[in-house]
């Protein structure tokens, strides 16, 4: 398979990734090292450019002072790239858009029109909405990544949102087999769906050589933003069962978010104040230190694309108990590298936590070592880099 020289990839993201967003930065770096030119497109109103990529921002049509300049700029962009504009307009009309909406759509997508790209890759399914014809209009191939929320939650609110997208010629990237099956259920051809799992920095996430003293109080941890999809209320209910059985434990929740009020009240109502800590959002180094001091990692999500935090915990040698939401049962192999519990069932989760606590050291070590080994070989950045290189090599 030969790699076309000077392939230009347009990556469409909601925000320009900042320093801490390792996934997109490592992907960009990997592509650049493999000879791809990466151009970032974003509709963020915060116009921070990326240090190593050309960056292009969508016009901002929100009502404000300066709106007229954005409209003028978009019109000029369309006129300067009249061929692509006409093609986009025609494709929109063929899709049944009214004349007025077709023109609007050209203006919304005007920032793409001047770019000659090999691939136009939408980083989330939702980013491709209203831009379904742009790749064809500019003569690029179209790729779309689905990461979880966009495939499972967004369509619950807007059930027909992807009808147009799924009628187009697209190469899909998903994080798990489960997500691939979901796309197949939407009648997407299996050949066009490629699984590339997330990866982590295995050099950074590895435990220190010196073994820790065993904890007298079992230390549980979870890392992630405080969002309902993380299933933390169910998790706390499971811990309330442990507490009733007088099992000594402490649960640290790392992350912040809109659900904090609800979770704090749950901790209070479930009488877990002495057993639960909200650590807030903390830097990577501190997360690593915390993982090092902990025994068990819990990810009892309701919906989860794949979850890097679970990979990091496995790499650090924690025993992981996760829900069966979407990609999690591929992230952790039940009874091999951790345990998978049916979602939305705190009783079953508590039962599994107790069983895991009761395992002997040999059984625990076996699972721990399996998980560390699997993450190292299956979810490293080098493997992911090769897979993305292949993805763009047609």
């Amino acid at each position: 398979m030969s790699l076309k020289t000077a392939s230009r990839i347009g990556l469409v993201l909601p925000n320009i990734p900042n320093y801490s967003e390792t996934f997109f930065n490592s992907k960009i770096k990997g592509l650049q090292e493999n000879g791809f030119e990466v151009i970032l497109f974003s509709n963020s109103k915060y116009r921070n450019v990326h240090p190593t990529c050309e960056t292009s921002f969508a016009p901002n049509f929100s009502k404000r002072f300066g709106l007229i300049f954005d409209i003028l700029f978009a019109i000029i962009n369309c006129l300067k790239n009249i061929k692509s504009t006409i093609k986009l307009f025609k494709l929109n009309r063929e899709d049944g858009l009214s004349c007025k909406n077709s023109i609007k759509n050209c203006l919304i997508n005007s920032h793409f029109l001047s770019h000659k790209l090999t691939w136009l890759h939408f980083g989330f399914g939702t980013m491709a909405l209203q831009s379904e014809n742009v790749a064809e209009a500019i003569g690029a191939k179209m790729a779309v990544s689905f990461r979880g929320f966009d495939l499972y939650i967004y369509p619950a609110k807007f059930p027909t949102c992807y009808n147009l997208l799924f009628s187009k010629k697209v190469k899909y990237h998903v994080l798990s087999n489960e997500m691939k099956n979901t796309l197949i259920d939407y009648r997407i051809s299996s050949d066009t769906i490629h699984i590339i799992t997330p990866a982590i920095n295995i050099d950074f996430f590895q435990p220190e050589a010196s073994a820790q003293e065993p904890n007298s109080v079992f230390q549980f941890v979870t890392v992630g933003r405080l969002h309902w999809k993380k299933g933390l209320e169910y998790t706390l209910e499971a811990f309330a069962i442990l507490k009733k059985q007088e099992i000594p434990f402490h649960f640290t929740i790392v992350g912040d978010g809109v659900e904090k009020e609800k979770l704090m009240f749950a901790v209070h109502q479930l009488n877990l104040e002495a057993n639960v800590t909200f650590a807030g959002k903390i830097p990577h180094n501190e997360v690593k230190n915390l993982l090092e001091k902990s025994d068990f990692y819990i990810q009892y999500s309701i919906q989860e694309g794949f979850c890097n935090a679970v990979l990091e915990a496995q790499a650090m040698g924690l025993l992981c108990i996760v829900s069966d939401a979407d990609g999690l049962s591929e992230n952790v192999l039940h009874n091999e590298t951790g345990w998978v519990v049916p979602k939305r069932n705190p009783t079953l989760l508590a039962q599994k936590m107790i069983e895991t606590i009761d395992l002997n050291d040999t059984e625990k070590s076996k699972i721990r070592e399996n998980a560390m080994e699997r993450v190292k070989s299956e979810f490293n950045l080098t493997k992911q880099e090769i897979e993305f290189k292949l993805f763009y090599t047609d």
Binding site: A156, K229, Q269
Partner: protein, 393 residues
Amino acid sequence: MRKFKIAIYCGEIPPPTFIDRLINGLAEKGNKLILVGKLTRKVSYKSNHVKIIGYSGKISKTFILLYYSVLLSLFQNKEKKKLKNWMELNSKYNNISKIRYYPILYNRPDVFHLQWIKGIEDWVWVREFDIKLIVSLRGAHINYTPICEPKYAEIYKRYFPLVDGFHGVSKAIMQEATKYNSTLEKSKVVYSGLNTKKMSFNLTKKSVEHLQILSVGRNHWKKGYRYALDCMRILKDRNVKFTYTIVGVDEDEELLFQRKQLDLLKEVFFVPKLGFNDVIEKMKKANMLLLPSLEEGIANVVLEAMAIGTVVVSSDCGGMKEVIKHNENGFLVPVRNSKDMAQAILDASQLSESESSKMLLSARDQIEKQHYEKNMIHGILTLYKHSYEFKNS
């Protein structure tokens, strides 16, 4: 009983239905009412004893500010200066505060009744002007705000000793408030009141072939709808035929996703907020009203269902057990427990005609005895009177 001049403050005008009932009832008894707040829509009261000082935009705000500034300067300049000192000391000397404070100061009510205690810090100044400060202890503001936002626990502890009277919507909430230095001596439970004469009671047995389950309430985590949907999945697994409607919830992402994930698209429906009469109509048609809340003072919607003859299945939160006696006038289940909720729904649906009638009659009786509107008005007036005497004793 003595007639009072009462300022009611709840931020917005018109206030919620249960506060409106209080306003109308107090006005009917010949008390003078002043309502200050942001006007969200046009409102009028039958009684000419209710004076509305509302603002909705820059013009009305400017008018109120100028009007009351001039009146205070002309007739109560000393008091105006005293209030200015307090405002400056407390970093509140700004136009927004003036718009809220000046009409109260000028009208000088006997009682200032604050409906939502989160704002207590802004209103303790009224005591400096011989206005009695009465606060209502309602649901969220006392049950979880100080837990989730510890700064409010500190504010309450600091200012509750200055309050002249506490109105608790339940015994449970009154007890909860003592954690923040409220005193039971100054507190009185006054249950929410309904005009039961206007709410027709119907004992007709409804078909249970296909259960109609209803919840009513705003879209907020404290309403516990997540547990209700888990409960519906349990019912579906047990092959129960049902429709579950939540009124007050429309486009909530979490609930829409949960409904889809649990395969309840044909059973569960979300309906945006409806007016009082439409809610009552829906309630009449339902086999039961479900209250899956995690926290409540006492939910008015439960009182309404009990008044009209709809069986209630409620979580045992806040003051709900002060209204519902399990298996006697309704069903009470532990909070955060979908399994018990499902079992209670099944039990409710399997009541014989005589058991159902007995339960509904008992429910209606409970509402008539404990939540009669006139009792509410009398209770509130007693609290005002008592706090007035307490202050002067």
